[in-house]
């Protein structure tokens, strides 16, 4: 823990905070070199709030999700910052303590539901395993809980007897959601829960999730690359790019008046039924190995000036949100 730096913001400790992430940095070791995947990420989630983490591939969104559960792959580690969940410091917890937190308090719907289920287990066995492992409930005890949860996600109890290959993509996704909600966690992390699905199925699942969030009074972190899904589920949004937070605030504020040039470029490039005057963003998003010096968006940004290529911008607070961009600093052009 020697080179572990604690975040130092605002001084006073906020005991009421549900989840707060401060100055989070995560790095991966690849071929003996350290690459920073997540850099100075800050956000806060209140109880019952739903927030979206939006970004393209390589933006660090899934890595952040995994770090909240202490599930980073062996070559990844939290190199700086704090993840405080209900007054517990997740980064400092022992594996055993994290395991108690996992699923019962924080659970996750993993990306690619198609592959998230064990192909040789029926839904019944798959779900009762969760109840056995975490709450030591036997089969007969588990059954009614499973039935109830399947019904909540819109599946018939008979689905319990099915193997993954006997189900459609939408059904598998619902089973995965049911599995994540089985122990009634306070925080649900949903990583691209509808990405591989057809639009009609996606709409059904999103609306189902809306209802579940309300009924179960859960807090939700919704990880997605699809901006247009954000207002459907979330009140708060964090825009990520190249491993860092570019802009965050209330959904209506950020989408109504994007301040970071990346956010507005992204919004202008969305192809949707009501999009007008769309404009493509030149270039490619950076990968782990190619994050540039300075602002990660500098090469593709129409408003970049020399400072953007020299120093990593800090976050600036405006009246209703946080923006990481030199345009909002004193030395702006």
């Amino acid at each position: 823990m020697l080179h572990y730096q604690l975040g130092h913001r605002q001084g006073g400790s906020d005991f009421m905070s549900f989840l707060s992430v401060e100055g989070l940095g995560i790095s991966y070791e690849i071929d003996g070199r350290e690459y920073s995947a997540v850099n100075d990420v800050n956000f806060e989630l209140k109880e019952g709030e739903s927030m979206a983490l939006v970004g393209e591939s390589g933006s660090g969104k899934s890595t952040i999700g995994l770090s909240l559960l202490g599930l980073l792959p062996p070559n990844g580690k939290v190199s700086s910052g704090l993840i405080r969940f209900q007054n517990r410091e997740i980064v400092l917890l022992k594996e055993k303590e994290v395991r108690e937190l996992r699923w019962k308090h924080i659970s996750m719907v993993f990306q690619g539901s198609m592959n998230a289920l064990d192909p040789i287990l029926t839904v019944r066995n798959q779900l009762s395993e969760v109840l056995k492992f975490h709450e030591n409930k036997g089969k007969s005890e588990a059954e009614p809980i499973i039935v109830e949860m399947l019904q909540k996600v819109g599946l018939k109890p008979s689905v319990m007897n099915l193997y993954p290959h006997e189900m459609s993509g939408g059904m598998k996704q619902r089973v995965v959601i049911a599995m994540a909600l089985l122990l009634k966690p306070e925080l649900l992390i949903a990583d691209e829960p509808t990405t591989a699905l057809d639009v009609t199925t996606q709409a059904e699942i999103i609306i189902q999730l809306q209802q579940l969030i309300k009924e179960e009074k859960m807090s939700v972190i919704f990880i997605t690359h699809d901006l247009s899904l954000v207002p459907q589920l979330c009140s708060k949004v964090v825009i990520l790019y190249g491993g860092t937070t570019m802009e965050s605030g209330a959904v209506d504020d950020v989408f109504g008046n994007p301040l970071n040039p990346y956010t507005s470029a992204l919004m202008n490039s969305i192809v949707s039924l009501d999009s007008k005057n769309t404009q493509a963003i030149p270039g490619n998003p950076p990968t782990l190995q190619t994050v540039p010096r300075g602002c990660p968006f500098n090469k593709r940004c129409a408003k970049a000036f020399n400072l953007c290529f020299e120093s990593f911008p800090r976050e600036y607070n405006t009246s209703n949100r946080t923006v990481r961009c030199h345009l909002f600093g004193d030395s702006k052009q």
């Binding site: 009609t200 709409a203 059904e204 901006l227 992204l266 192809v271 949707s272 999009s275 493509a280």
Partner: protein, 326 residues
Amino acid sequence: MSESVIEARNIVRTFSQRGSNTSFNAVNNVSLQSKRGEIVGLVGESGSGKTTFGRVLVNLIPPNAGTVYFHGEKIIDSKTNLKKNLRRSFSMIFQDPYESLNPVKRVYDILAFPPRVHGIKERKQLDEMVVSALEEVKLTPAADFVDKYPLQISGGQRQRVAIARSIILRPEFLVADEATSMLDASLKLGMINLLLEIIKKHEMTTLLITHDLAVAAMMCNRLLVMYKGAIVETGPSAEIVNNPKHPYSKALVAAIPTLGRKLSLPELVGESGEMNVGCKYYPRCPARFDRCAKEMPRDFPVGESLVKCFLYGSGSEDTKFEGTGS
């Protein structure tokens, strides 16, 4: 009719299950007619038969029934395969740029493969073709890419290589299968613009297969909406997007999330079950009535569109229904 570059009439493609006698029509009586340079969109959800139809058109699989005509000449049916000298006029961009490029071949050899197959062996000519194809998809300078393996370039670049390969022989007819779906948000529009530019420049007749109605509406003049093997609605893109007529098209449009509008649940009655007789959409349709379960509706004209739904015609005559007819 002679002005159409490609015409498919009543294509049927059946798949049978191994070890059983059951078979189902992945493509059921689908027709298409497109003029030179026209981009027609084929939209629908996974499993609707879009890709199968595309594969029949470029003769990767034979149809069980139906005929494909090229400049008015019959070229493909259940017994006739596309002649090799014509194959270079037909091309396809495959769904997944991660899987459709051979990982052990360099970009140069990936791109030089189609010309080599068609007898172009001379190195100088191949070089020229490869370089100009790479320039066309904006992978410049070409010298930076020719020696790379697919794993050494990004997803967006791989997709560009896949596009370059499909246009290197200057095909007249192109099937673009989900050419933009795998891309990140900030790259998608760039790829759409690139494809449009290339298609326009060479006046390629294109069938764009996508599940993304917004992309289809942006790129195509005309759309075909496919459900369980059949075209349920066809018409001008703007008409289908702004004023969908078939209950399935309505559900499809309503299900698309946009920033400015809350998602409404597509009104579905049940699971998407199988129908042996009657309308395939019957099990899910909110506007269904008895007749729909007994009889497959034919195409009824509504303005510039054709709609396969009894709400828009009675069957024997073309007297139109007023109201919803439930």
